[in-house]
Each structure stands twice: as C-alpha cells, then as structure tokens.
Amino acid sequence: MYRLLVIPAVILLLLAGAMFWSGGPAQKKADFTFISTDEVHTLDTQRMSWMNDFRVAYGLWEGLYRLDPQTLVAIPGTANPIDVSADKTVYTFHIRPDAKWSNGDPVVAADFIFAWRRLLEEPGEYTYLFHYIVGAKAYEDDFDKALKAFTDDSDPDHKTDHFAKADFSKVGIKELDRLTVRVTLEHPVLPFPDIVAMPPFFPMNEKAMKPFLDDKAFHDSHEHVRRYKKEFTHPPNLVTEGPYQLESWAYKRRLRMRANPNYYDRDHVVSKVVDMIFAKDEQWAYADFTSGGADWLPDVAGEIAGELYARHDPQAHIFPVFGTYFYSFNCQPKFNDGSPNPFADKRVRQALSMAIDKRVITDTVVRSGQIPTTTYIPPNSFKGYKTPAGLPYDIPRAQKLMAEAGYPRGAGFPHVHLLFNDDPPHAEVGETIRRQWRDALGIDVELESIEAVTFANRERNHDYAISRASWYGDYLDPSTFTDKYKPDSENNESGWINTQYADLCQKADIEIDPQKRLDYYAQAEALLLDEAPIIPIYVYTECYVMRKNVFGLPLNVRSMMVFSSVGVRH
C-alpha cells in the first residue's frame, strides 16, 4: 500500500517543484493596462514591421519628428528646430540639448547615424525607406556584397578587408556637430517627415548595445560587421529615449513600461506604468476586459466586433482606418503551369470587379461598420486628393465585357481557384463573392483555403489566379499605397506591370507642389482602378473597446497612439 502511495507523492513533489520554477509574485496593477492579441515580435526598432511592435515602440522611443496623435501631422520630436531646404531635399536636424536616454546619456547625432548605418548594413523590411537618401542604396548593396565575400571567405585569418569598397562617407547622412545631423535626399520627398517619425528611423544607444556585440565577427571583418545578440532588446539591457523605458518583458505574458525619468517632456507623461497583457484568444481577452482586468482592448475583430457594433455598445469605438481589403488577380499572360490566364485580359478583370455587390459583404459577412469601396486608397484620407470613381457595381456591363472577352454567360471559362489564408472572414467573403459571380456571370471559381505562411509563399511566387489581399498605409500619404503596384515593387504580387502607372508615380514622387503631386497620384490610382489588377472590396475598420474613464486615446485612421497622453480618470 505504502509503495503505491509513492507514485502520487512523487507527482505532487514534481508539481511543487514546477510551480516553484514557474512562480513569481503577482505584480501591482499598472496605471494603464491594455490587452494585445499579438505578442511583441521584437524590440529592435530596425527589425520591426508588425503593428503591435510599432505601437510599443512609440512608447519607448521618439523620432526626430513625431506624429501628433490627434491630427497625425509630423511635428518636431527629439529634434527641434528642424531646417528644411527650399527644394525639400536637405533636412538639418538640431537635436534638443535636453533629450536624454533612459540611462542618462545625452541623445546625440551619432546615435542616429549609428542606427541608420546599421539599418543599411543589416537591412530590414523598411530599409527601402532609406533609399530616398543620397547614396544609401549603393552603400547597402556594396556592404551586402562585402558581407557575402566575408561569409564565404575560406581564409581563417581574414587577411583581406572585403569592406573597403563600402564607403559610408558617400551616403547623405552627415554629423555636422555633436547635436546636428544633416540628411540629403535624392529628390524631394514630401512625406519624409512622416517617414522619419517611424521606428526604423529611431536612434540606438551603441554604448548599451556594446556588451552584446559579436566580437569575433567584428574583429574578423576588420571592425565592419556589427552583429548584436538579441539580449540587447531585453530588460534591463534596452536603453530608450522616449517617454517610457522597458521594465519587464515576460514573453507571451506581459510587457511593462515605466515612465522614463530622463525624458525631456516627462512632466506630460500621464500614466507612469503601462502594461501590455498578451492574450491569444479574443474571447478570453474580451472576458478579461469585462471583468476589469484591462482598460483598453484594441484590434477587436470578428464575432465580438460584429456583436458590439450591432448593439451600439458604449464602450466600443469603431472607426474606419487607412487600410483596404481587396482581391488581387494574377495578371501574367500564363499561369505558372503554362496554361493560359483569362485574367491577363483586362475586360475579364473588370467584369469580375463589376459583378460584386460589396454592400452584401459589409452588411452580412464582416458586419462591423466596414465601408464598401470601389477605390484602392481609402477615400477622404487626404485633403485635396480627388479620389477616382473606380468600377461600379454593374452586372449588365460585366456580362457584356465577359461576352466580348469570349466567355458569354461564362461559357468556356477555365476552372480557376480563389486563394485565401484560412483565417476569418476570408472563407465567408469568398463564398459570397463566388455565389455572386456564379449568378451574374455564370462562372464558378473554386475556393482554396490554405494556411497563412504557405499562402504568402504562393502569392510571392505568383502561384494563384485570384487571391485575397489587403494593404495598410504606413504613413499618411498616397505613395504608401501606390508604391505597392510599381513594376519593381516586392509587394506587387499581381504581376501587373504598367509603365504609364510607373511614370505617374515617379512624377508624383519627386513633385514638390503638394496639389500637383496629389493629382498625379490620383491619376495613377484611376489608371490602376481601370486596369483592375485588384478588386477593392471594403475599407477596414478598427474596433477599440475601452473603459469610459480612459482619456487621451485618439481614434485616428492609422490607429496610431502614443501612450504618454493616455490615462485613466479615477
């Protein structure tokens, strides 16, 4: 008998041990707590591209410019004043003398140059934004070539300096004095201030990162390759210069920020401690919010958002954002398997576009205030931008176009797939559109649902006929949308290549007259909509759920916020 009791006793002992190992005392509630259904992927500002990473970054850092959370206009941040040349190609940033890092170091020009140089040497998703700067692209390419030669070098002593050719002094980033940095652009870029406010342009504190430098690579490469272990982004190692500093980060549990005592504008930081609670499950997140565990629940979607919208829940705030849900056609002459592609014909693309009643989708499928749209760039996003009309919902015209293209009533139309990733609401949207196409045009597409990473892979390889797509603007300018369909864009999954479109975009990119510039972009968008490599379906909405006593949380189209202005009234 006693022998038998040993087994449960052993299990209980192990249990006690495991609990001791996992334990940690519960911490006091923060001044402001929000729940995120996405974890922070990285706190290396140069590797960020996820929305939630950006959100936290705007709490921990501040760029030379920063965005006014109410108006989203770029205003001086860590630098003040900022001189811009008359031709808008030279920016001279005078860093505030009172700007300090969380470790007390002053913020200096070298901190920015160090960070920007690193982004060219170890490029990330947003390095392309640096290509506006004189010589930046060339330096990135030269450094990459050198790095490849260095990696493949069989010489154990690394005698050759492969990096001699990569010359950073040719890049238009210059330190004029300790607190002044000058950036020279290839051509005028009107939204450059908005771009500089983004995390890839944030400074880094080299001193704090030094202990994490890969010494061997640095030494072998003749002090050129600077690789840092990820630990530099973990507390207590991470040094930042924004309103907050990183206090703790328990992976997939909680991230805590505490007011940075050295921040120049520290007196206006409302909540001293901010917690991000991670919750993968939306139902749990909403239940936790209602039970008082959090003050703010952003990015609510699906069923919950639909329900809150339907009952006009006073705690729910639903507003349109700078993002579009659309379908994308593969426009290449032939599919990857060599069979002819009906969507190479513009008329077919237009017909499919005109045969969709988008209101049915927003009203009965996604159901949380999304706006049916015929345009690619969400309308009314910019003052002075003449949003083109796009293709209307017009079944007779769609049928006529199909007949002209050789598919009267769908006869002879090849069997094609509609591809989407297996997350809501894509299957339901797809089913609705499939039905509409069948009823209006007599064609039957097959729905193909695959897992997200495989989906991205197929999209990249143009291995699809029609695919579900979406785009969110990175900054408040048409170019962040139009760039996607430039012929050489990595993000142009459609294979639609149009030189007239590229010319219009190019003209707009370098134009310094704001109105003319917007007009060029509007022409480019009109052309894109008429050519119809995509079918715009609806403008996304964001759903915030927050307590009534929360203040200072702006509801703007980019769902962009800075934590320093947010607080809870007691």
């Binding site: 495991a18 706190l43 549990r253 239940a287 039970s291 990473v453 990249r460």
Partner: protein, 309 residues
C-alpha cells in the same frame, strides 16, 4: 537493473538523433519561409542577409550550426521572435509542467478511486454512472470542456477570477479541463484490471483467511490492478505536461502547447526543433521512469527479461 538502465540511457541519444533528423527534414521541406512576413515583403537582399545571420541559408549550414549546440541547452534564436528558444522554453515549460502535473494528480486520484469503486460494485448504479461519465470524459474534446468550464465558472458565475497566470486558483479550471480525458481513461483502465484482479486466486485466499474488505481491495487488489495505469502514466504525463494547445488558449495560459502550434504556423524552425526535442526527452525519460516504477511496485516483474533475452 543497472545494465537495463545503462542500455536504455545509451539508446536515448540515438532515438533523439533520429527524431531530430526526421523533424528537421519535415520542417525544411515544408512550404513557406520562416523569415517572410505574410503582408510586407522584404527585398531579397534583406531575406538573404537575415538567413545568413541565422545560419539558415543552406540546410547543411543549419545542421552544422545548431545540433551540436543543443548539448549545452542552446537551441539557438527563434526565427520569428527576438528571443532565444531556450528562454521561451524556460518560461513556458514550468507553466505547462505545473498545470500538467496538477491535472495528472486530479486524474490519478479521482480516476483510480472511481475505477476501483466501479469494479467493486460491478453492474451497480455507481458502475453505470462511472462508465457513462468516463465515456463522456474520453469523448468530449478539451475545447468543448474548457470553453464550457470557462464560460460557466469564470464568466457567468464569477467563481474563479479571470486571472493572470500565477496562483493556485488560476490552475483549477484548466486543470480540471485537462484532467478529464486521462481521468476517464484511468478510471476505465482501473476498473477493467481491478475486475480481473478481484477474481484471482490470491484475492480469494486473502478473503478466505478473514481479511476485511477494505485492505483486500485497496492494499492487495489495487497494487496489481494499478500496473496498467502505471504504464499509461508515462505518456499521459508527457501529454498533459507539454500542455494542450486548446486549454492553454481558452484560459490564456503561457505554456508550451501554444508554442508547439504557433512555431509550426510561423515555420519557426529552431523553435519547432526545440519544442519537439524537449517533448521527446520528456517522453523518453517518463517512459523510463515508468519502467523503473513497475519494478518498484511489483518486485516480481523483471523488466530486464526482454533485454537479457
């Protein structure tokens, strides 16, 4: 015994190597790129540089770099989060282990008791009840039981706070949800083997020599009837400890189960290999422990018999 242990311990690295290679192969041929974002696409230069940095530009470079580091517990960096795989496992494993062992404790106590009582009162009302309840336990998937428990006790009746992971009370509901399946299985195993044991000669002898009912059942009977349960405990422990993805998701528990699923969805190769290896090591050790436990409970069992033959 010593020889047996030595052989088993020597086999382990071999088995682990096979598991590693098989997993690696599957991970490497799976479509999709661990470094590619699903919406923003990076320049090929960026992708290549990132792969080089992570030693993942060629399959052989990966194999040359990562496996040997595992001997010192370094699984490398996660490909999709700026965390070391070892750190992720170090934070998630104890959580899963606490929850799993808690669930196992419930399952073991309740399962064995119910199973024994059902066997003793065979075909009685209690037997039928326990049979039906264990049938439900075996067949109701955890996403149903977990969601029902959460909705009823946390959201509706507020008996358990929707807590951050940390205190014992946070463990009760997920523990119950996770224990239902093994509990039902243990109950049925115990019942079946108890019925067999109770009709054996030595029990009859014990009854005949005048022992009272209690000691006969709980001391003499259960000791032998428990053996099949014991052999199930190894895999059951590994199962509950590495966590159920579903239970962890419903109760927002930062355990290892989440990483199993998400690492695959992200094609996070190092994290997949890390979690698979940890799971394998646990499974192998627990099975070994169970074999040793066998000999401990019933010294007549010669676990070396097979090895010697």
């Amino acid at each position: 015994m010593g020889r047996f242990l030595a052989i088993r311990l020597l086999q382990m690295p071999l088995i682990l190597a096979v598991i590693y290679l098989a997993t690696f192969l599957l991970v490497w041929v799976a479509p999709g790129d661990p470094f590619a974002r699903t919406d923003r696409k990076a320049d090929p230069i960026v992708m290549e540089a990132r792969k080089r940095e992570m030693h993942a530009d060629h399959w052989w470079r990966f194999l040359l770099y990562y496996p040997r580091r595992m001997f010192v517990g370094d699984f490398g960096p996660s490909f999709s989060y700026d965390m070391n795989v070892a750190t992720i496992i170090d934070e998630a494993l104890p959580v899963s282990a606490s929850l799993g062992l808690f669930a196992l404790t419930i399952a073991l106590w309740v399962g064995t008791t119910v199973g024994t009582l059902a066997a003793v009162r065979r075909n009685g009302v209690f037997d039928w009840m326990s049979l039906s309840i264990s049938l439900i336990g075996v067949s109701v998937p955890s996403f149903v039981s977990a969601a029902v428990l959460f909705a009823a006790f946390s959201v509706h009746w507020h008996l358990f706070a929707i807590g951050r992971w940390g205190s014992i009370s946070d463990m009760v509901l997920p523990g119950i949800a996770l224990s239902l399946a093994p509990m039902a299985y243990i109950a049925r195993l115990t019942r079946a083997s108890m019925i067999e044991v109770l009709s054996s000669d030595y029990i009859r002898t014990a009854v005949a020599k005048g022992l009272s009912r209690g000691p006969v059942i709980w001391k003499h009977g259960l000791r032998n009837a428990f053996l099949p349960v014991l052999s199930y405990l190894g895999p059951a422990a590994a199962d509950t400890m590495t966590g159920s993805f579903v239970v962890e998701k419903v109760f927002n528990i930062p355990g290892l189960g989440t990483h199993f699923v998400n690492s695959v969805l992200n094609r996070d190769q190092t994290l997949i290999l890390g979690t698979v290896m940890v799971y394998s090591i646990m499974l192998l050790s627990l099975n070994l422990l169970v074999d040793v436990g066998y000999a401990f409970i019933d010294p007549r069992i010669d676990i070396t018999a097979k090895a010697a033959a």
